[in-house]
Symmetry: C2
Subunit: 247 residues, 2 copies
């Protein structure tokens, strides 16, 4: 028995999210089916660093799994990629201690959100960005993003239905990459944990502030009210990327 | 009755090509359905500058159509875009003389082919590039592309089944954009006309030359033999873009 840690990229467009679901195409389901083929029928459970929703992408998702035989890491990488569809690619495999757990051992994560600007949706970016048609002010955006940094109760930014009681999380950095402005901007968040839909709700709220639809420091108010009904919008899944997981 | 000329972009992934076909989703079919909605039921025939195949994209396809009423061009542009799915975008509309015909009046076209390099397919580029996993020599590629320039009989580079007898065409320029090499290269062809599958067959042959699988000047030989069987491969539709049509 060897415990492996593997890093992968995927285009989430075709998938009903990361997590295995009966009858539905999911990232976990595809990987577990491949591993079961490699073991000639023995099931292998895949642990992800966390779920990603339907349509959400990843450049650096991390999984771990106990594999019944020992394969050299380059053979494992090759075997996995030979069984993956073209929209999933493993980029690294390591053999790790039996204690390593891809979900419990997460220290922090980076999520990135690509926003396509301009009046119309670019036909080639529709599956890889969220589109925001209104004019935005980059300075207002940056000031609002600074309000997110620190340790806060993110109840206003968590989708209802989550089972997690403690909604306090720490955002270490929240930055804008405006290299491609005014065609596109990228919002990059590094934090110790993210609640269900949290990044997508934060992004929608930030864009409303940046376009003048909300007050400059509305995020401070939202932290205080702890009411999901007040941060009304959720940015589309298509713009969200799980960039990196730190252990 | 007003004759309009319109320029559009599309992501061809979901479509069975440009040309209308019964029961199948095509670019022409979607545009004609929108125009028929605008005329409240009166059919409008769309003329394209040429067909594009299933999966082929366009940044600058051009169409013309006779519309029963006169609409200002900005209203026509807005009306068309409001009825388009997210993977088709009109970028310009002009009112033109009744004689203008989007297919017959073409002077020349530019096609671009995006090749993703490297051992594995990038999950995010699979629908927007052709993937070529072998090492290529950019100098060999450039020398081979120069052989294409000029007036030649392209019989070796035309898919069988075409009804066009005269296979002589002129390529004005054939260039490589290697800005993103070794991740990606773009092959750009400007010519007075392109036969069915001609760009995709040329690209596959060029890549075989660039990777040392064919002789440096094999294109000169293929011009002479006029035999499609000798240029065996066709590069995937996903890498091909109709960039510009000149009138």
């Amino acid at each position: 028995m060897t415990n492996y840690k593997a890093t992968l990229q995927y285009d989430g467009t075709r998938y009903h999210g990361f997590q295995r679901q009966p009858q539905l195409l999911t990232i976990q389901g595809v990987i577990e089916a491949a591993l079961q083929k490699m073991t000639k029928g023995q099931p292998v459970e895949v642990i992800g660093s966390g779920r990603t929703d339907a349509g959400v992408h990843a450049y650096g998702q991390v999984i771990s799994f106990d594999y019944p035989n020992h394969l050299p890491v380059h053979s494992m990488l090759k075997a996995l990629n030979s069984l993956m569809p073209l929209d999933i690619l493993f980029t690294e495999v390591q053999a790790v201690s039996p204690q390593f757990h891809a979900r419990f051992d997460v220290q922090s994560k980076i999520y990135e959100y690509r926003v396509a600007l301009g009046r119309y949706t670019n036909p080639f970016l529709r599956l890889y960005t969220g589109h925001y048609p209104y004019q935005i002010d980059l300075q207002r955006l940056q000031i609002a993003m600074a309000d997110l940094v620190g340790t806060h109760d993110f109840s206003s930014f968590a989708a209802s239905g989550g089972v997690i009681q403690n909604k306090v999380r720490t955002i270490y950095t929240a930055q804008v990459d405006s290299t491609n402005y005014p065609v596109e901007i990228r919002l990059i968040f590094h934090g110790n944990g993210f609640l269900y839909n949290m990044v997508r709700i934060m992004v929608a709220t930030l864009l409303e502030i940046a376009s003048g639809r909300r007050a400059q420091h509305d995020i401070q108010r939202l932290f205080n009210v702890r009411d999901r009904q007040q941060a009304r919008m959720t940015a589309p899944a298509s713009g969200l990327y799980l960039q990196k997981v730190y252990y």
